[in-house]
Amino acid sequence: MRSRVSSGTMVSLNMILHIDMDAFFASIEEAINPRLKGKPLIVGSRGNRMHTVVCAANYAAKALGIHSGMPTKRAYSIYSKLEFVTADQAKYIWTSEQILGFLKGFNLPLNYASIDEFQLDLSGCLGIKPVSLGKEIKAQIYADFNITASVGIARNWLLAKLASKLNKPDGLTLIDDSNFEQVLRKASLDKLCGMGGKNGKVLMAKGLETCWDLYLNLPGFFNNNSGKFEENTGKPTEKPKSVSHSYTLPRDQVNHQVIQAWIRLLSEMIAVRLRQQNLVSATVYIWLNGPVIGNFGAQKTHQVSTNDGYEIYQRALKIMARSSLRNPRIRAIGVTCGSLSHGIYYPLLKEEARRERLIQALDRINNRFGEGVIYPANTTLTRQ
């Protein structure tokens, strides 16, 4: 199935090269402002440093036990002199797309796995030395952006991703026949993709501590679970199953006008994406989270599909009105549109035709001057 590979030999079959950027957002902020380099740094989702969550932490902060997803209040309780930067998606997305563009230049099957993860399929490419290629990619990324990446190379994406995590930051790890057992014995189970949550806890409770323990108990796991490499270069090739947006509020909210404003904004954001892809949706699903209600979710499918943000918003409100929720405290809101189909909505009634023209005019304005430049009046509450 595979042959032994080292930096000097040529690759044969089934090799995936996984590139994982090291503390991506935090590294970009360090590159922008060299004063921050080496100091414990967190990137916060919002500008208010005490009322947000850690979006990314650099390695100095990670060494203190601070990690992404942690409330910043808790992070500051661990280390009060943390450096703080507000997340700015534009620079992270731009950098990610530049790296994607550079990787496309290799003319290999490429998977844009996430904003900071990329995978190249080297299968069947004779003449490519995977370790040399990994080194070249790392060097070029560092030269262009002054940030580091870790590379993992293995026979499938699961092992390649694991390999990329083993020598972070700035690592390059190859897993092949010669070191398979040695690497898996050293790798704790939670480093494996999908084992960080409940699955990992269940297996660890059964006494499996390392990836090698898993391999001994489920020998086929690393082959059967590897999945098929699917190319994805960031451009949607087929119709999505659903389109959704969600938002976590800075604090619990009982003001129904603010809650409705966020539902309207999320509905409009979904509607824009539906119209961009010529899609209409029949099912609206609303999800709410709060300290008392926990997770609430309900959906309704309608006969008439739509891609009008106002209509999606109205359908979401009707779902809420039918529920037993009465002025709940809300922390997070999500709206999802499913049952998607390709199609253009042809209005029959005069009022509907007028509404359709209005939507088209709004889209033209937002396309020219930027998304959200013109927006429904009641979403103003989301900007305060």
Binding site: N367, F369, Y375
Partner: protein, 102 residues
Amino acid sequence: MNQNSFSPKARWDRFEPDKCGFNPDSLNERIEVLANFKHAKIFPKSFTWHDKEYIIETVTYNWQERIGQALISYFSVFCTGQMYQISFNNSTFRWQIDKLIQ
């Protein structure tokens, strides 16, 4: 493969942090910039802000963002002991100083 759904999207709520008023360093003032335009790239050399000229010693990072039809090029620059973020709008040809980087 179970990781094939990523595609970065513009978001209507992306301006939220600045709009919340939590960014006291935000300036957004027009400036004059001396820059080289070479091979479709921009290299700012100095800028004049409030009648004072600032010689750019280093451009530490640059990135771009499309807002509608306009392409905004951002630069984080270091001059005389202070970091600044400046930007150029290719639609209005306006240079501005966005903020001081602390």
